[in-house]
């Protein structure tokens, strides 16, 4: 199975979606220092965006488990009524999403149905570019949250993406969000550090790429004397869960690790309002059932654990999570126990301030549009609501005049 990762996307779009402004790599210490010097004021809302790369199959995520057409369309890969986790009389969550079902029951999950954009594009790379730039009709080289960063006062900590590469979503025209490599960077011995510091000084003859090479090394060694042990500290513990030897119960996946870092930095007071994390591998052309369930389980478990960790902080009411993928998949299975690239899919918004429930119209399985699900909600409706209600900023600088909203945020 080809795993569509953020890297792949970046590579293929790097010709198309240029990073508008240089993105300085952050070190943990810079963030830690900022958290101490100028912590995010209490009660400041925080957005956490989770990107699912590869095209998540929406119909096997939010399953229309009482619709006979669902079963006749994809007999090999449908879930039976007794497997799924019912949300109402028509829709149910994938069996792997028990944690998310728990949050749904607490009214903390909004599911926006049939989200997409006009004239769906079935290419991973084009479709993801449309979602991340929020400009489906015309290619532009800034991301929607990058434009939001542009509209705020300058702060490299304002928007942070976990991983060493910045997604186009956070690329602005003047400024950009900052990538933060996870896993922590090792600090080398003094002699070598001094020599490397010298080797990585800016040089006026450097080409753009050589300057970037120098910067990457400089950041590795530019660690201040008093390393703050933020990342060495254990992650916040969900007070509702018994603590076992290995800490909180929960799987160890890369998404879980990314969210672990985010929870620690939120707890530490990082002056960051937007976080971006991601999970790849949703391109399930064949043998989908197990692969997708495993990934959805990771999403559900990681998010649940993250929400639990936030309870141990003072900021649990401030955080809203948004989950999306570049497209859903075809209604009809392809005969390889998988599905081909489709169109619309569900989006999830999760948080204490979210008004739980369904939003948007569920696309009909009977009346397909060119064999694909109809798009019933434009993703910009969701973005606009998030910009207004979560980030508390005007929509225009980011999305232009856009009147659609989804009323799922308190």
């Amino acid at each position: 199975m080809d795993t569509v990762t953020r890297r792949k996307f970046l590579k293929l779009t790097s010709g198309a979606v240029a990073v508008g402004a240089a993105a300085p790599l952050l070190s943990i210490d810079q963030i830690a220092q900022a958290a101490i010097d100028r912590p995010l004021p209490a009660n400041t809302p925080i957005l956490v965006v989770i990107t699912l790369y590869g095209g998540n199959d929406g119909l096997n995520t939010v399953v229309p488990y009482t619709d006979p057409i669902y079963y006749s369309s994809r007999p090999d890969i449908s879930y039976t009524a007794d497997q799924v986790l019912p949300l109402d009389a028509e829709l149910a969550l994938n069996p792997a999403m028990k944690g998310l079902k728990g949050l749904w029951d607490q009214k903390k999950v909004a599911i926006v149905r049939g989200v997409g954009y006009p004239n769906p594009d079935h290419s991973h790379f084009s479709s993801m570019a449309k979602w991340q730039t929020a400009s489906p009709a015309k290619h532009i080289n800034t991301g929607w949250l990058g434009r939001w960063v542009d509209s705020q006062s300058e702060d490299p900590m304002l928007a942070i993406s976990l991983g060493s590469v910045l997604p186009p979503m956070l690329a602005g025209a003047k400024r950009s969000g900052s990538p933060l490599p996870i896993g922590g960077l090792e600090i080398r011995k003094a002699t070598l550090a001094n020599q490397c510091a010298q080797l990585s000084k800016p040089s006026k003859n450097d080409s753009k790429l050589m300057a970037a090479a120098a910067t990457s090394m400089r950041n590795l060694f530019s660690v201040s004397g008093n390393v703050q042990p933020v990342l060495k500290a254990p992650a916040p513990v969900d007070p509702d869960l018994p603590t076992t030897n290995g800490g909180n119960a929960g799987g160890d996946s890369n998404l879980a690790q990314q969210l672990d870092v985010v929870s620690k930095l939120i707890a530490a007071g990082s002056p960051t309002k937007v976080w971006s994390v991601s999970l790849g591998g949703f391109d399930t052309h064949a043998n989908e059932a197990n692969a997708q369930a495993e990934l959805l389980g990771v999403v559900s478990d990681s998010v649940t654990r993250f929400m639990g960790q936030l309870k141990a902080t003072t900021r649990s009411n401030d955080v809203t999570i948004m989950i999306y993928s570049e497209f859903g998949r075809r209604v009809v299975g392809n005969g390889s126990q998988g599905t081909d690239h489709g169109t619309s899919g569900p989006m999830f918004l999760i948080g204490n301030k979210v008004k739980g429930g369904f939003y948007g119209e569920q696309p009909s399985l009977k009346n397909l549009y060119k064999n694909d699900l109809a798009v019933t909600t434009d993703f910009r409706d969701v973005y606009a609501s998030v910009i207004e209600k979560v980030l508390k900023t005007p929509v225009d600088p980011t999305l232009g005049k856009w009147s659609g909203r989804v009323n799922c945020l308190g």
Binding site: G15, Q195, T215, L220, H285
Partner: protein
């Protein structure tokens, strides 16, 4: 920057895997034209490459059932064969007297990016590698037909699941989007149409043998890019490759991988017209002579494999002789690039994607590990001050910046430390 040094450096680092000690200084004396001709003319026999022994990659047959006593040796053999294959190819890159063939095979591997991680078996990947090498400087039409009939590619993109009853679009879409035409040069209806023309292929996973099951083929006419016809794999390749978009797309990909992944391809880039007859060598020759080769704007970051192989050539190391090859593969894994395991069908990233603080750290560790295993013959033959002035020639770097020279001067008495700084310098990580 000295124009001759720049152009010759690019010829060595982009059309091969970097110079061996002495080659760059000699090439500066020979001049650009002679060097270009030499590096683009593939010799009949390559004595260096001939020293690399072919790995024993065999058909391991069907996977034994779980929990049987056969499963353990089977799994060990699977892993061992893949490792042998990776090491074999890295050895070829490092040992080649003439770098162009391996460099082009490497380019096409990233283009038709197929991963052993899905195949599991080495043999189909090994066969695909030979196919790519056979056609790497040949005709793109012949290459495409060979690839449509390649078991590894078919299996990777679910071609064996694409039948008249249940079409699977994975191969059809990527054939147009990533291999032949480029994105947005076809419609969604064309994706459905081409997928129907590619039905019926079957693959033996363990050895990559491809056959066509006529009963699974969709033999109805389709309308593809405005033309209605009954196509086969071969005729659909002819049809797509005849389109002007194919020349444009291949020129774009050559530009992206050889000239610049950050700057747009200029309309005047000569590879497109040179590709009129779909002859790859003509496009490559045009590219190597293009005026962009002399433009300082078009720097390229070396990918981890490119950086590693050029370091092996400079340090006179053979990948398979490193202690241990497994550790070498682990380093490449950490840097994000192991041959035969691209992250996905789009191949590896380029440019700044390779320049994070994390890769900076792994590169330093990897370079130290390599340097410990090298005799550092070249540096040891130089006096400390010579090291600073002559190491740019050793590595095929057009010039050291004042910043790097300062750092090197501080380490000039310690050849190992000197080599480490040189190999991790911005001027070496990036092909100027």
């Amino acid at each position: 920057m000295d124009a001759t040094r720049l152009e010759i450096s690019r010829l060595y680092h982009r059309f091969g895997f970097g110079p061996r000690p002495g080659e760059y200084a000699q090439a500066i004396k020979d001049g650009v034209d002679l060097t270009r001709t030499k590096l683009l003319t593939v010799p009949a026999v390559d004595a260096g490459m001939a020293t690399v022994v072919e790995p024993a990659i065999t058909d391991l047959g069907k996977r034994p059932a779980p929990n049987t006593k056969e499963i353990v040796p089977f799994s060990i053999a699977l892993r061992f064969q893949t490792q042998q294959m990776v090491v074999w190819w890295l050895d070829r890159m490092a040992a080649a007297d003439h770098g162009l063939t391996e460099r082009m095979t490497w380019f096409w591997h990233g283009h038709w990016a197929t991963s052993v991680d899905k195949l599991n078996y080495a043999l189909p990947m090994y066969k695909q590698n030979k196919t790519l090498r056979t056609h790497c400087l040949g005709n793109f039409n012949a290459m495409t037909k060979a690839m449509i009939n390649d078991g590894a590619l078919q299996f990777w993109l679910d071609g064996q699941d694409n039948t008249v009853k249940a079409p699977n679009e994975n191969l059809g879409r990527e054939l147009m989007e990533l291999f032949v035409l480029g994105v947005d040069r076809y419609s969604e209806d064309d994706v459905k149409a081409i997928s129907r023309t590619l039905t019926g292929y079957q693959v033996v996973r363990s050895n990559g043998e491809v056959s066509i099951n006529q009963a699974r083929r969709d033999k109805n006419p389709v309308t593809l890019l405005g033309t209605s016809a009954v196509f086969t794999g071969d005729t659909v390749a002819d049809f797509l490759i005849a389109r002007d978009d194919n020349a444009k797309f291949i020129a774009e990909r050559l530009w992206y991988r050889f000239m610049s992944s950050t700057e747009d391809m200029p309309a005047t880039f000569s590879a497109k017209n040179a590709f009129a007859n779909r002859e790859i060598s003509a496009a490559v020759n045009a590219m190597a002579s293009d005026s962009a080769m002399r433009d300082e704007k078009y720097a390229m970051v070396k990918s981890p494999v490119e950086w590693f192989i050029s370091a092996c050539r400079a340090l006179e190391l053979t990948p398979s002789q490193l202690k241990t090859p497994n550790q070498m593969i682990n380093f490449l894994q950490k840097l994000g690039q192991v041959p035969f395991s691209p992250p996905n069908v789009g191949g590896w990233p380029a440019g700044e994607a390779w320049l994070s603080s994390a890769t900076a750290q792994y590169r330093i560790t990897f370079a130290s590990w390599l340097i410990k295993q090298s005799e550092l013959r070249v540096l040891n033959a130089m006096t400390p001050p010579q090291r600073v002035t002559q190491s740019a020639n050793w590595l095929g770097v057009p010039e050291w910046s004042a910043r790097t020279k300062n750092a090197l001067r501080d380490a000039q008495k310690d050849p190992a430390q000197f080599a480490l700084l040189a190999l991790c310098s911005p001027e070496y990580i990036v092909s100027a």
